[in-house]
Amino acid sequence: MKTKLTALVAAGMMAAAPAMADLVVPNLSYRTGPYGANGTQYADGFNDYFALLNERDGGIGGEMIQVPECETAYNTEKGVECYESTKDSGALVYNPLSTGITYQLIPKVSVDKKVLYTPGYGRTSAKNGKVFEWVFNAPANYWDGASVAIKYLLDENGGDLSGKKVALVFHNSAYGKEPIRTLEGLAEKHGFELSQIPVDAPGQEQKSQWLQIRRDKPDYVIMYGWGVMNQAAIQEAANIRFPMENFIGIWWSGSEVDVLPVGEKANGYKALTFNGVGMDYPVYDDIKTHLIETGKASQGGEHVGSVLYSRGMYAAVVISEAIRKAQEVAGTSAISPEQLREGFEQLEITPERLAEIGLPDFGPEIKMSCDNHGGSGMARLQQWDASAKQWNLITEFTEPDQEIIAPLIQQDSEAYAAESGITPRDC
């Protein structure tokens, strides 16, 4: 029976390998499991932007882009299987949308020489390009997010947070724990009191956590959640009548699926974002004519314009711009992962360029270099309007507090380098 199985698997594998000629950008997505509702929108945006480039422009620089999809269900073991099954097909860059899978892939990509692009998630200290040669996390990372949120609170309070209480409600995993150090540093600097409230995955049950919040009465709550945890938290916050305008989520806790189930009571909930939302961008006209009307959009285009769709599309925009840059630097259209890495390091996305591709003011300016793989870290805030059922941007792009973050990144990346025997490169 085993031999039969292996023969069948072998047959399956042979058929799975795509043609080698195109640029291959695998989409390690998750449309099932506890985070499927979020993952499926992101994956659609990611697929659709590349599909648009193929349909409208004939790919990038004349090379068609292939986006083979592989289902990870947000599970690290399946993620590894997906990575191994796609890496020999000429894959250039990976974007697994999972901090857990990212941690698995970071050591692997430097051996296999593949680019890992983790916009707004993954290992924060990967910003240090001297240590993490193959990993990029522009435009912003978790620590930037924490700092921008605190900066916003500082602005609200006339620059003084001393004596205030801030609670961090977080997904009890590598992802949720990331901001703790930054927030501790910021708490010390600005004199506010930080309390940490972990929520175990997947997080449907948060009664005790919100009971604690009701007892402690923090002035502000910051949330690092994902999937069903977001809806549950916003619902619980509404139940204890916590003022929504004092509740700020990270960018992964600020999509339509998180607030819609709570209805009217979610009105005023705030979340960070590093990409624009809504349909007011010229690129959507192209998506409409080239994809939706021709029936080529993922899942018929039902999620076009949602927060997570936009974010998936934004990841695809950055990757495609990096491919363009790499083609320009290498002087060839069929680039290798090494050349794409060069492209990422020299990537510069100006506001003018964003306007040119039909996404004016969609994301922050990105300028990468050999030692900065994380861009500027700027993010902005959006607020949910429950009656209009839409997110409204309420601040401009804000710089994080690099005074706190830069030493932490230095420290964490050096610890990683020492642990895994990497000598940081000179830049």
Partner: protein
């Protein structure tokens, strides 16, 4: 005609008591070993190692361990994931604290640490059994996961609570860390599996195994004929946890390379290993392997067939895959409640009689 013991004469007690009394079985065993050690290492690639062989071998060790406890000694456990986490964190602490000591020793020590923890959580089994014991071990699962998440010492105070396996070598070959070749990963797991399966087989047919089975079948009767329930139950917990700890250590160090306790060693893992031994067959060494193969390979196979060959969308394939695996488990258990091992045994019985069934 082929598969029979006629003409296979035994002239000593030693011959009579061997694991594979039938010659064809013995040959089969040697051929499997020869292929596993002599051929697969030369043709294996990263995909086959990471998607099929390494997880299969590691889960086979875990299933062997749980099978000793549940299948042979009759103590239901839902704490497998937690005990695997103990193995993983033990090997992580050991390999970062003593980088010069061989990883093989660390993995065995991690098994030892897990054995001690397993005995501790096995103490309630002296008072409670059945469902009540299952609940007690479930508590162990949640407690251990909580502990490794809560206490930063276990993950060396890293910012994210993730543990990463640094590179360690055996005889100059890297077996952990990103630069490990597929062959090295496969071989280190294979060596552990072969050694541990040999130990398990010989333990279970000796005095200790007979004591476990006596306790499983009727503990009061066993006590009357002189089996000490304290030593029998605790030794079952210790040996089982040792195996599970080794599996956890291998899963983290060799297979995953980085792990996060809630995700890698959650309650799902406990159920997965329990399913393996139920489908494979309780109280059977072969069953542990068959169950691990079924649960590891079937999803990969279905995924490759549905997405790779038939070109279905990945989400549809993932949902169908869950349904097919679930349905197969139910069907298997209805057709043969004693698992794949029993099916295998029945096949062998039939083969012995073939082609003259009467």
């Amino acid at each position: 005609m082929l598969y029979r013991e006629a003409g296979d004469f035994k002239t000593s007690y030693r011959d009579d008591g061997q694991t594979f009394p039938i010659r064809l079985d013995r040959w089969g065993y040697y051929i499997v070993l020869a292929v596993a050690f002599g051929i697969i290492p030369f043709i294996i690639n990263d995909y086959w190692a990471s998607a099929v062989f390494v997880p299969f071998l590691i889960y086979a060790v875990a299933a062997l361990g749980l099978n000793i406890l549940t299948g042979y000694a009759g103590q239901v456990s839902l704490g497998t994931g937690g005990f695997m986490a103990v193995g993983a964190y033990a090997v992580y602490k050991l390999m970062t604290a003593f980088p010069d000591v061989s990883i093989v020793i660390h993995i065995l020590l991690a098994g030892g640490v897990t054995a001690i923890v397993g005995m501790l959580f096995g103490l309630p089994s002296l008072r409670i059994k059945g469902f009540y014991l299952a609940v007690a071990t479930l508590a162990a699962q949640f407690f251990l996961v909580w502990l490794f998440n809560k206490v930063p010492w276990f993950y060396n105070y890293s910012a994210s609570g993730q543990i990463n396996a640094p590179e360690r070598t055996v005889l100059g070959w890297a077996v952990t860390g990103p630069a490990t070749s597929a062959t090295a990963k496969y071989l280190i797991c294979l060596c552990f599996v072969v050694a541990l399966a040999w130990v398990a087989r010989n333990l279970t047919r000796g005095t200790l195994g007979r004591k476990w089975m006596a306790i499983r079948d009727m503990d009061i009767a066993a006590e009357i004929i002189g089996v000490n329930p304290l030593t029998a139950k605790l030794s079952a917990f210790a040996v089982s946890s040792f195996f599970i700890g080794v599996a956890g250590a291998l899963l983290f160090a060799v297979y995953l390379g980085a792990a996060e306790v809630g995700e890698a060693f959650g309650i799902n893992k406990s159920f997965l290993v329990l399913f393996m031994i139920i489908i494979g067959g309780l109280g059977s060494i072969f069953g542990a392997f068959a169950g691990a193969a079924f649960m590891v390979m079937l999803p990969v196979l279905l995924k490759n067939v549905l997405v790779g060959s038939l070109g279905w969308p990945t989400d549809l394939a993932a949902h169908i895959e869950l349904m097919i695996v679930g349905a197969l488990i139910v069907i298997f258990l209805i057709v043969e409640p004693h698992g794949l091992a029993r099916l295998w045994a029945l096949t062998k019985e039939k083969l012995r009689l073939w082609p003259f069934p009467h």
